[in-house]
């Protein structure tokens, strides 16, 4: 079925492909256009995976990495998907270091009641929900973001995080059970 959504995506992909070609040849303006189109997606991923305080830095690094590796992008899939994989590799490489840094600088927060820190009715539920995600324990948050927001399978997540598939499932369940209190009245 031909849909406008599909047309829009195809159009966006075509635009990306043209700019990728130009950027791979050294055209920084073309790369800036790619940045403008994809920065919200990458920044949101970084914020959810690592936290707001590091999201800018991670995003910056992702795009610089992408610039460096652009010639390795063969155009077999969407640029957005390739860029997300660049981002995930950057995020996963930084995850352990950031976790260790946080443990040194601050005591671990209590996590068993997300609702206590995420009121149900607020002017901006989406932002509150994002905050609730950030309050999740690290492992549960990583799995939740990758599975329920980014759409990766438990098998893929297990491979990326170096955990068993069953662990990924149980972490997802834990995250969801914690987040569900967000909706309790």
């Amino acid at each position: 079925m031909q849909t406008l959504t599909g047309d829009t995506q195809r159009s966006s992909s075509d635009t990306d492909a043209a700019d990728v070609s130009l950027a791979a040849a050294g055209d920084a303006q073309a790369f800036e256009r790619l940045y403008r189109r994809h920065v919200a997606r990458i920044h949101s991923l970084a914020r959810r995976m690592i936290g707001a305080e590091s999201a800018d830095e991670i995003t910056q690094e992702v795009f610089v990495r992408a610039w460096e590796k652009l010639r390795s992008f063969r155009g077999e899939g969407a640029f957005g998907g390739w860029l997300r994989r660049v981002a995930l590799n950057v995020l996963l490489a930084r995850r352990r270091a950031l976790a260790a840094e946080r443990q040194r600088s601050a005591p671990p927060p209590a996590h068993e009641s997300v609702a206590a820190r995420a009121p149900l009715v607020t002017p901006d539920l989406a932002i509150d929900f994002e905050n609730a995600i950030e309050e999740l324990p690290g492992g549960a948050r990583q799995v939740f973001v990758q599975h329920d927001i980014e759409g990766y399978t438990h098998e893929e997540i297990g491979g990326m995080l170096g955990i068993a598939t069953g662990t990924s499932k149980s972490q997802l369940h834990r995250a969801c059970m914690l987040l569900r209190s967000y909706f309790e009245r």
């Binding site: 849909t3 406008l4 910056q60 590799n89 950057v90 490489a93 329920d148």
Partner: protein
């Protein structure tokens, strides 16, 4: 005690469609008699819906100047190497993977998708019911609607995107559709032969049946929608679909489903 209920731990798998059919049936029987698990399932569903509907937000400041500076100076060259993106890591288009669909407006649906045993069974069951009138499908294949009340059950999953067809339904007054959208910004609405692209916000979207079309009303939405509310005319006549975490095509005709 909540923690002692073994089924409680399986609800996420149930939502993901990862339970075997036997387990599914047992869980559904359990749900029928367990208000706590039913409530937990509903809340989990809302969590998933909300997660899928989260909008992407750009950074508060413009990062491009710093990126441009780094690009010019090659400032990452001194940083520890980061592996190139793995081709093995592919983003799923939705919570169930590998679904491809073709469906005609006559509701003749052809499916081809890869997946585990559970999805294969869905394909087999769909093949058994797609020739039937819509109104008979749910009764013939109730396992395709593994959602406890108050979910409307008169639905047939058959694809990787949602198609709500209002053919033959006499629309009276405004039609309102609210969707918890996931990762695309627009949906397609066809009414009276006219195609409209509707912007979807995190709060959902509203479609007015301005054409007052009695036929050919179709809403096509992307696969990762999670919940949809449809209000037709009478405020009491509300159709609620929550289980679109299944990346399947849902087709139903309102005329044949007067509601609950």
């Amino acid at each position: 005690m909540i923690a002692s209920d073994p089924w409680r731990e399986r609800l996420s798998e149930y939502l993901d469609g990862e339970l075997e059919s036997g387990e599914c049936e047992r869980l559904e029987r359990h749900l029928a008699g367990c208000a706590e698990c039913t409530l937990a399932l509903e809340e989990l569903r809302r969590v998933v819906a909300f997660a899928h509907a989260l909008p992407d937000r750009p950074p508060s400041g413009d990062l491009w100047p710093a990126i441009a500076r780094d690009i010019r100076s090659g400032s990452l060259a001194h940083r520890p190497g980061i592996a190139p993106p793995s081709a093995a890591i592919r983003r799923r288009p939705s919570r169930l993977v590998g679904l491809a669909v073709a469906a005609s407006i006559a509701l003749v649906i052809v499916l081809a998708f890869s997946g585990g045993p559970a999805t294969s069974r869905i394909v087999e069951r769909l093949a058994e019911i797609t020739h039937l009138p819509i109104g008979q499908r749910a009764a013939r294949a109730p396992e395709l609607h593994p959602v406890p009340p108050p979910i409307v059950r008169h639905l047939v999953p058959a694809g990787d995107e949602l198609v709500l067809e209002f053919e033959r339904h006499q629309l009276e007054g405004a039609l309102e559709v609210r969707v918890a959208q996931v990762d695309r910004a627009t949906i397609q609405v066809t009414t009276g032969g006219q195609v409209e692209t509707v912007l979807v916000t995190p709060e959902g979207f509203r479609v007015r049946n301005s054409a007052r079309s009695a036929t050919d009303y179709r809403v096509t939405v992307p696969a990762r929608l999670v919940s949809v509310e449809i209000r037709v005319g009478d405020p009491q006549n509300v159709y609620v679909i929550h289980d679109l975490y299944l990346p399947l095509r849902w087709v139903f005709g309102l005329q044949e489903y007067p509601g609950q």
